[in-house]
């Protein structure tokens, strides 16, 4: 198992956001996390990446405990994420965004950076080439020098994905990667995700587009009110009465 959550809970003051969540993510899979609004999915992502501390339980990645570490350390270990709103460095160029995301592979000690030694320059050059390649593979080569904040939505989403890939993380956590995309754009993105799985990456994603989730994921975990209510293949989940209940219940409360 690549990632294990063991009895993870998170409480905000009086509100219990996640309760006793245990789940595992196998390597080289696309694993979906679904549930009605407010189920705690984004909280789980924040816990996984160290943005929020756990109230109890632990998270184990590649056999080592990662709960309680700083986000930058967790990224160094191989977990990276996108955020729900397209979170970018809006004032920087597209290329610079990816260069920043490549930091783990580019950073050198202070003195070589200051002096600009040959080693530093070589490292920067190769990171830059890698970044340009990444942008090209996601259709962003033309906009490399544009301000990230000025891009259309689809390109911003692609840039977020490029940044996550630039970290070379093994576990890629995507928060609604298909939100706001047209049918064609979604299909393209799904193809990219499948290709990433083939290359050996593991993907954990939250999505509301159910057709996409069922078509894309190998395993799906369902959350409701911070509790895991089901886990299994898409076929299992679609037939699971508890899941249907949770979504119907959400439908009713909205009606």
């Amino acid at each position: 198992m690549l990632l294990e959550l063991r009895d993870v809970s998170k409480r905000f003051g009086g509100l219990q956001a996640v309760t006793g969540l245990s789940m595992t993510v196998a390597p080289r899979t696309i694993h979906g996390l679904i549930g009605p609004n407010g189920a705690g999915k984004s909280t789980v992502f924040n816990l996984l990446t160290g943005v929020l501390p756990l109230s109890s339980g632990e998270i184990v990645f590649k056999g080592a405990r990662v709960s309680g570490l700083r986000p930058s350390e967790i990224c160094r270990r191989g977990i990276a994420r996108t955020f729900q709103a397209t979170t970018l460095f809006r004032e920087s160029t597209v290329l610079d965004n990816v260069l920043i995301a490549s930091h783990l592979h580019a950073a050198m000690a202070f003195v070589p950076t200051l002096i600009g030694t040959a080693a530093y320059r070589d490292r920067e050059r190769s990171v830059c080439t890698g970044a340009q390649g990444l942008l090209a593979s996601l259709g962003l080569a033309d906009v490399a020098d544009q301000r990230a904040g000025s891009l259309p939505h689809r390109d911003q989403k692609a840039l977020c994905l490029a940044m996550v890939l630039a970290t070379a993380a093994e576990l890629v956590i995507l928060d609604e990667p298909l939100a706001g995309l047209t049918a064609q754009e979604s299909a393209d993105t799904m193809a990219v995700l499948r290709a990433l799985r083939a290359e050996g990456k593991t993907i954990l994603l939250v999505e509301h587009d159910m057709r996409a989730v069922m078509g894309l994921c190998d395993v799906i975990t369902v959350l409701d009110h911070g509790v895991r209510i089901a886990e299994g293949t898409p076929r299992d989940i679609q037939a699971n009465p508890a899941v249907i209940e949770a979504y119907l219940g959400a439908e009713e409360s909205r009606a």
Binding site: R81, F89, A106
Partner: protein
């Protein structure tokens, strides 16, 4: 790295270096040399303050580290008998060392608390300089009789630093080092990461940047250069008083930095040059000076917060828009 619009760093640095050499060629008048020397010292202070602001930190105690460098050097030379040249290296290191715990404490809090806690340090240190160890620091009457830099022995003889010209060259040399380091860092990966931290530090953290370590490093290095300025200040001014390192001179530094533009490394250069001149012109009218600076600061932050350096860009963009809309209007009349 993406090519940045505007001045190339080498060209900018070159221009500054040449301008600095030109001053003593153009004039030997001690008044103008004084002004130019003060400008260079202020440049070191504003460039280093701006360096800290590039990660989003406004360190209200920046001038206190100048004070630490100043007092440390004065004491090393007058009490411990050190040579000025040794203390020129050691005193800024003292400032940097003090910056480590201060920075660690300040960085535990964010945003508004950060301004307030660094302001608290500013006041604590000012009170310390004013009231503690009066035998050593001079107390409310100040620390006096600090010697000029000791003569620098060279093969042909020794350079004395009693005159304005050698002091100018000394400050010029210090400025060149500081500017070279800070400009170079800005245009390297360091500057890229600093900009990322300033825009969204959480995002940078989740992408693998150890934000706290970065901010602390920036804080310490910025304080080191403030200490360098302090050493020069102590031995050229020859008198130190706690009011030199209080809120008013600190706000003046903020004014110089911000009016020029804190986003760009050239902003403080523009701001310091323009305002040093204005300062001289308004020298007799202290209260008017404060009033005008306060008003200008407000106007700049409200109307063009990126400072004076952003004006050329804004004007060209505004002209482009004007041209663009004219073209569209013409097109609309011509096309069906």
């Amino acid at each position: 790295m993406s090519r940045r619009p505007g001045l190339s760093p080498a060209l900018g640095f070159g221009l500054l270096a040449v301008a600095g050499v030109a001053v003593p060629v153009l004039t030997r008048d001690s008044y103008y040399l004084d002004v130019a020397t003060a400008m260079l010292m202020n440049l070191v202070l504003t460039l280093s303050l701006r360096f800290e602001m590039s990660t989003g930190q406004l360190n209200m105690a920046h001038i206190s580290f100048m004070g630490i460098g100043a007092y440390a050097s004065a004491l090393l030379v007058t009490r411990a008998g050190w040579s000025f040249w040794a203390s020129l290296v050691a005193a800024p290191l003292v400032a940097a060392l003090v910056a480590v715990p201060v920075g660690r404490i300040a960085l535990r809090v964010s945003g508004p608390y950060y301004f307030l806690i660094t302001f608290a340090f500013l006041e604590v240190l000012r009170l310390f300089f004013n009231n503690s160890f009066v035998d050593y620091l001079g107390g409310p009457s100040g620390l006096v009789e600090i010697p000029r830099p000791h003569p620098l022995p060279l093969s042909g003889g020794a350079i004395a630093f009693t005159g304005k010209l050698p002091q100018y060259w000394l400050m010029y040399a210090l400025f060149l080092v500081a500017a070279a380091v800070l400009i170079r860092l800005e245009y390297s990966r360091f500057g890229l990461v600093a900009s990322a931290i300033r825009q969204r530090d959480l995002l940078a953290e989740t992408l693998g940047v150890d934000v706290i370590r970065y901010k602390l490093g920036v804080f310490v290095l910025g304080s080191f250069f403030a200490g360098v300025a302090g050493v020069f200040f102590a031995h050229s001014h020859q008198v130190l008083h706690s009011s030199d390192f209080g809120l008013e001179p600190m706000v003046l530094l903020v004014v110089f930095t911000v009016i020029g533009g804190a986003q760009s490394v050239w902003g403080p250069v523009v701001g310091t040059l323009v305002l040093s001149v204005t300062s001289e012109l308004l020298r007799e009218l202290h209260h008017y000076e404060i009033l005008v600076y306060g008003a200008v600061l407000m106007v700049v932050m409200l109307v063009f917060p990126e400072g004076l350096v952003s004006l050329p860009g804004r004007i060209t963009r505004a002209l482009d828009r004007r041209r663009g809309s004219k073209a569209r209007a013409v097109g609309a009349r011509v096309a069906p």
